[in-house]
């Protein structure tokens, strides 16, 4: 059986420096899979490689059995993989609605589908509907994150790649964003989620992977990852977990 998304022995180099080593990850239809790792572990690089933004050194990425290596980013979206990048990356001088329309750029001639996708985004994030004519640079950080996710959904992807959607958000918003991620998933979109908020990321996912310095250090069902002593200490704040469910961020890139 072929996986929906299958990353096989992927290695990535920046210049001469290797940042991913033989990483294999798969995502099945209907799943949420989390990828955890410290700053610089290579999480964003992994998602960017799937999206075609960074060249693949060795190994392969398959989507429904089709090899994606060296297919340009704008073709990969068309195939059904959409990335909400780290740091949101909304287009600040464009309105909320223009940002969303660009998310549906691959289907810009299909007016009905674009309208349906937009309605769906507005029902997930009602605030975006209120702000549709506002320049997205004037949105709050949380609203920008919603816009980034909404924009990624506009192409009606089969696979949604989320890079640190909770980065820099207040706890109340973090909860809201994770609830919406679950909802998106229950509507039929499979999700590969990169997070530093390990606690939340493991709660929402069925399986998880841990990246350490570009190597896959652990993987498995979330229950077994959560009970792993080393992972508890490194990513779940050890014994302090109950007191500090939202570990402070050590930095952002």
């Amino acid at each position: 059986m072929t996986s929906l998304l299958s990353i096989e022995r992927l290695s990535i180099f920046y210049g001469g420096i290797q940042v991913l080593h033989d990483v294999s990850i798969h995502l099945e239809q209907g799943e949420i899979v989390s990828v955890l790792g410290a700053n610089g572990a290579g999480k964003s690089t992994l998602l960017q490689a799937v999206s075609g933004l960074v060249p693949i050194g060795s190994g392969s990425v398959f989507f429904r059995g089709e090899k994606l290596n060296s297919i340009p980013p704008y073709e990969i979206v068309r195939k059904g993989i959409s990335l909400s990048p780290e740091g949101r990356r909304v287009f600040p001088t464009l309105t909320v609605e223009e940002n969303l329309n660009l998310g549906a750029y691959t289907r810009k001639r299909m007016k009905d589908e674009v309208r349906e996708a937009k309605d769906r985004v507005f029902s997930l994030f009602p605030i975006l509907s209120e702000r549709r004519r506002q320049l997205s640079g004037t949105l709050s950080g949380g609203e920008q994150q919603m816009l980034a996710i909404g924009r990624a959904l506009m192409s009606s992807p089969k696979v949604l790649l989320l890079d640190e959607p909770s980065l820099g958000l207040a706890p109340i918003l973090v909860k809201q964003i994770f609830d919406i991620i679950s909802e998106i998933n229950s509507q039929g979109t499979s999700i590969l989620l990169v997070e530093q908020n390990a606690h939340k990321a493991l709660n929402i996912a069925s399986r998880g992977y841990v990246l350490e310095n570009g190597h896959l250090a652990a993987s498995g069902p979330t229950a077994s990852l959560r009970s792993d002593k080393k992972i508890q200490e490194a990513y779940l704040g050890g014994a302090a977990l109950k007191k500090r469910p939202f570990p402070a961020k050590t930095g952002q890139s």
């Binding site: 287009f91 004037t138 949105l139």
Partner: protein, 303 residues
């Protein structure tokens, strides 16, 4: 009073020349962060091609299509030719050096400019060429106390129609949003499914084509063209695009029009000999007090 109004209209006329050329600089800068120094020479080459069509093809075309047919033929021929030249220059002079960074691209752009200028000189000779005088009926129109020519009205109509169309495409269509998105963040734009190469293709064909059309209008307005005129117009238009906020398309239009009007008012009320100085003083003031230009990005990005 009518002097000031007439000067404003004259200023809008030459301002729309600057604006149309400035669009080429600004679109290319927006998408590629490259100052296309060859753009002024696209304008010159367009003017010469139009000249050739009008001088050598005029008799034939006027006989078959009438005067307006000949004019349209000149505009279309020069526009299409320069769109192709623009693409070739992008392929040959710029694309190979993008990976090497911005400085090599600037040098390459200067090289392309010199190459085009010399090609024009070799092709048409180093002396001034005169556009045919009797092309547009020399009709004078009196609007109240303001005095206009038919040619001037046509130039204003065509310029504003072109600017209006471009404004609509860039500000109101999804492809226009894609151009603005690409200018802002190429990587993320490609994640939207935008093929950056198509955007580059668009700006490198439309910009030179607009320059060519402007070249013909300038030839008809001043009746005299030279192979070096691209420098002067290019510099003014580049100034206009900085004034409006380089990379910003409505800004280029606004900057061009403002520059033209200021230049004409300066020439009328201060000194015609100092009009260029006046223009650059304005530029310096804008750069001191508003370095991003009038409509330049306010970069309200949240991190």
């Amino acid at each position: 009073m009518h002097v000031i109004l007439e000067q404003i209209i004259n200023g809008l006329t030459i301002g729309s020349f600057y604006a149309l050329i400035a669009l080429g600089y600004s679109m290319v800068y927006g998408v590629l962060k490259l100052i296309n120094f060859a753009h002024g020479d696209f304008f010159t080459l367009g003017s010469y091609l139009g000249y050739t069509v009008l001088v050598f093809g005029a008799a034939f075309m006027t006989a078959h299509f009438g005067l307006w047919g000949a004019l349209i033929a000149a505009l279309v021929f020069a526009g299409v030719s320069l769109a192709i030249v623009g693409l070739i220059v992008e392929r040959v002079a710029y694309r190979p050096v993008y990976p090497a960074g911005r400085l090599p691209a600037v040098v390459s752009a200067l090289g392309a400019s010199i190459f085009l200028q010399n090609t024009i000189m070799v092709g048409w000779g180093p002396r001034f060429q005169a556009y045919p005088a009797t092309l547009i009926p020399n009709v004078h129109i009196q609007l109240g106390s303001i005095h206009l020519t038919l040619l001037q009205i046509m130039i204003l109509l065509l310029s504003f129609a072109l600017m209006g169309t471009l404004y609509y495409i860039v500000q109101k269509t999804t492809f226009g949003a894609a151009i603005r998105a690409t200018a802002h963040d190429r990587k993320t734009a490609s994640l939207m499914g935008i093929n950056i190469n198509k955007v580059i293709l668009f700006v490198f064909t439309l910009g030179p084509a607009l320059g060519a059309v402007t070249g013909i209008m300038v030839g008809m307005y001043y009746r005299q063209i030279s192979f070096t005129m691209g420098w002067n117009y290019g510099l003014k238009a580049f100034t206009a695009s900085v004034l409006g906020g380089i990379g910003n398309i409505p800004g280029a239009m606004l900057g061009g029009l403002i520059l033209g009007v200021l230049e004409m008012l300066g020439a009328a009320y201060i000194s015609a000999a100092w009009k260029d100085v006046f223009v650059f003083i304005i530029l310096i003031l804008v750069l001191i007090f508003r370095p991003t230009g009038i409509l330049g990005e306010k970069t309200a990005e949240k991190v």
